[in-house]
Symmetry: D2
Subunit: 323 residues, 4 copies
């Protein structure tokens, strides 16, 4: 069975899905929409696809089985709800939104519509991350230390807190998500954010330039997430997960895994393309009518969003916030 796909958004992240979907045998992109009409036409032409006149028109269940929603979090309107009501399966990029109310409403519509969903927490699809999850299944974790430090997304909207939710909300959300995926649910969070440099370097920006987050997990483990989006001479990411008798570390956004315990000392760098693995899993799920191979559905992705929002709230209210 061929899965007919509509693509909403034709920017950078959409292109990475196009490249991945080309290698997925069952996938065929048939329609494209982007507010940038020129971009949509160029993309569609290269794919032998058709441009629709609106996002709403693209969500036509007679034409497509599934939609890839690749516009930023501030620009999605009620697309997920419409798709759910029309029985179109939804792949949507992370993060799921900017507040929980609309995202919760969408989640309900999705449940009611009975559609399959996949959220772009793509790092879950690395074989290294899968191996980490398998390893941690029966381990007691007491400490987690994570960071993601680097530069900014170049788009102006990204530096507006109300459009992107900042670095923690948009980029570090991958680390926030991986911790949940590997160690279980968060319980409480406190946080401090700073604007020491960005306030003079880029006065129009409203996002923080640095974030320091402390959390506890339902299991009793505690940890930190440290992030910056204006670091020129240090960049990278890491999650350390520590128990009394083991050390597990993921670096390079999950690409490289180290496990040390009394039986082994091993470091593996993945050779996989997680975007391909993610998109293939979703397309095959749609073809098979079963979501088992999808590693992050909408309700799951919503819990990751909830943590980010709680961290910002904790900082604003100078309080400990329960997720």
């Amino acid at each position: 069975m061929t899965v007919k796909i509509g693509l909403i958004g034709a920017g950078g992240i959409a292109q990475s899905h196009i490249n991945a979907l080309k290698k997925v045998e069952q996938a065929k992109i048939v329609t494209v929409f982007d507010l940038n009409t020129e971009g949509a036409q160029k993309t569609a032409a290269a794919l032998g696809a058709r441009v629709t006149e609106s996002a709403d028109a693209l969500l036509n269940p007679e034409e497509i089985d599934a939609v890839f929603i690749c516009v930023p979090q501030f620009a999605r309107g009620d697309l997920e709800e419409i798709a759910a009501k029309r029985g179109i399966h939804v792949f949507v990029e992370k993060p799921l939104g900017l507040e929980l109310e609309s995202v919760g409403r969408k989640e309900q519509a999705i449940r009611e519509g009975g559609i399959l969903t996949s959220v772009g927490y793509v790092l879950r699809y690395y074989d290294t991350v899968q191996q980490a999850k398998q390893y941690l299944q029966d381990k007691t974790v007491h400490l987690i230390q994570a960071f993601r430090i680097g530069g900014s997304h170049p788009a102006p909207w990204w530096k507006q807190q109300h459009m992107s939710n900042g670095n923690l909300g948009d980029a570090v959300t991958h680390q926030v998500d991986m911790i949940r995926y590997l160690v279980g649910e968060y319980k409480e969070v406190t946080a401090q954010f700073g604007r020491n440099t960005i306030k003079t370097q880029n006065p129009e920006a409203t996002i923080p330039d640095a974030g320091a987050v402390t959390f506890s997990m339902e299991s009793g483990a505690v940890g930190t997430i440290t992030e910056s989006c204006i670091s020129t001479y240090h960049s990278g990411s890491e999650i350390k997960i520590i128990g009394p008798n083991f050390f597990l570390q993921l670096t390079g956004n999950g690409k490289t895994l180290t496990i040390i315990d009394d039986q082994q000392n091993i470091t593996i760098t993945s050779k996989q393309d997680p975007v391909y693995e993610q998109d293939k899993a979703f397309v095959e799920a749609v073809a098979a009518g079963s979501g088992e191979a999808i590693l992050c559905g909408y309700a799951d992705g919503m819990r990751t969003l909830a943590f980010t929002l709680a961290a910002y709230k904790a900082a604003e209210e100078r309080d400990t916030v329960t997720i």
Copy 2:
């Protein structure tokens, strides 16, 4: 001038001072006291020193110019006050105590006594740490990420929170102090501590096994400190200090410094013995009657203690605590 020194405490940390003081020309240990009489006698004999019958008797200004207080934080009574009143200069190990009331009283007595003091925040004496301080003088920091992860002090008292103040209070206090020393004063703190493993591994222990601390600085920078005292397969320490145009990192408890900016990319591992540098600075200060070369005096060390206490309070009260 020879500086006559009395030594209170003859355990592990005292031995490291003895080794260092042997190389300091002006230093001469003349008296020793330890509740463990045998240990005191053995130590004194090796030094050609005399054992006193009490700590109070050791604090004899006719016999000594300075005292090295090398007993743990729970066992110091009012030794610093007595020394201050008798005009004996004081070197005292970190941390300065377990609460601020008695430490504040001691600090006042020291000021009134006009004595010189040096607190064992020994890592400040690394040339690498000095170079870091020099470098950071005119830099704008927005993010700090620190960790110290490893094993426990073997002594049973160390695992009792009311005797040691835990890993954050006793060992990680070095990192807490270095951040202040390099970047300026802390402003606010929140924290979470866990006992996921220690509660079953060592039921009599009352300390946490993991700590996650978030802070802001008076300058506006934010940061995290992550710590564990029961990690078998990962140990080490690191302080990253990040600005928009530089990266500075101290690892190995300050021994190794990396600085990267547009002018340089350099890593230096110190060849110095910071205990020697610290003890020499104190002894020479006593001989010269001037404390300029001492890098951490009592009032300074007290501010480091204040941060640790605030972190524990923040965790207990689930609140943001101002230092």
Copy 3:
């Protein structure tokens, strides 16, 4: 079946075998001989074993099934031949000797005696080295780069070329052997040795302080071995094995293996004790009457010696020597 073992030599390397054999269920050391009678007695007492009056007396087939020859290469006389003639199985330390004539004669006696032999090329027993061998089975290698750089064995005899065959002959022999084990037989060798520093630092020494060896393999691959025994600030060992589509590296004397190719990028540090694995394999082989699990027999070890001797000859004669 219990394998009764006689131990010739009670020095450092013998102690490491004693520690390993304690964990081998079927092994029992029953007799010990060392020219240093006191050392022999102390060792025997700790083992509940008996001291013999000579090495010859120890080689008593009514008392022992196997002998561990743990005296240096200059001190073995014709022990292996005697053991072979008396039907006693032989474990002997590397290197097998200082020239090929006597070693060849011993090898013939061993073949005629039909005994099992194991030579102490212990690094072959690392699981990492086994994995490297497995990986390389069907690979085309074009380049090998090996080094072993560090300090000297403390014994005075070791610095006499005619007693130890120098660093290349005694320590770096492990690397020489691993290359053969992993990539096949050597074909030709050239070499240069220096005495730039040792000649003034230790005028009585006759060994080189540095060696630079170039070789070709029967397969057509070429490579280098670089070694020093007087390096204070750099030490370690490495073997890089390179083909057009893979990179394989062993560091830490074989303990850590890295393999990179289009399918994988993995680094494994062994948790095994190769001395234990080696001694267990030999003892079990003796018990079972089958040498299959022994990874280096006498004839095999002799080929490793042949390479070292050829390298020294090449340097002396300023020639390319065929192995």
Copy 4:
């Protein structure tokens, strides 16, 4: 004074000189020649320079003060001699040629012409390499270990031994040169070269795919150079220089320097552009009429070539060759 420059060759290496010379205040490229007329015109147009009809015509002392000869070693004819005779100062890329006869003749012409020359052993101009040279001035070296492993130059001529002199002659010549520059002159060399993979991978190629070189220095030090030009999963370069009391290492073609001794343990990565430093030194030397700041003149570069040729000869004749 403005130094008027003619540029022979407009390929990749010429472009890197153009970029560097743009930043050198006194430099002005006035004429360009390349057999590829189109390339020459495009390059000249971008520079506001003129294309000459031949290399000979470019060597016009009324138009230029200096020439940059940026054509490969097989394509230089007698350009250096002509320039020398006409009093035009010469910058010429490494390596200087393919055999010593013509290069020696050119060297004589240069001496007789009294012109300034600079050879493109550009790595000498790194501040890190300068610091290494300074450090080694009074040190006794006993061992040198160098490698350069990676891929091939893409040009077909490069894989023809008679046109490029292979990887050792063309790329690894930088490492061969740095060793001379830092530790002094070579004395003897032996070598083995292999073609295990290239003979099937690229049957038309006549260069080796791997080289293993052993050498001694006039000082008595010995060492190895190991190289490959068909390694996909390992690439890099390193020179280790070892004495009894120090370790010095250059990696990244000289960009990163490590020095460890009893006083220091330091790693520095250069921020300099050595092409710029090299070209600036030459242009300023021409302007000033004094070659002091030039780090590699023609006669010096010829000695580096001599080593490469000796290595190939040693391999071919299976002999030890004196440089």
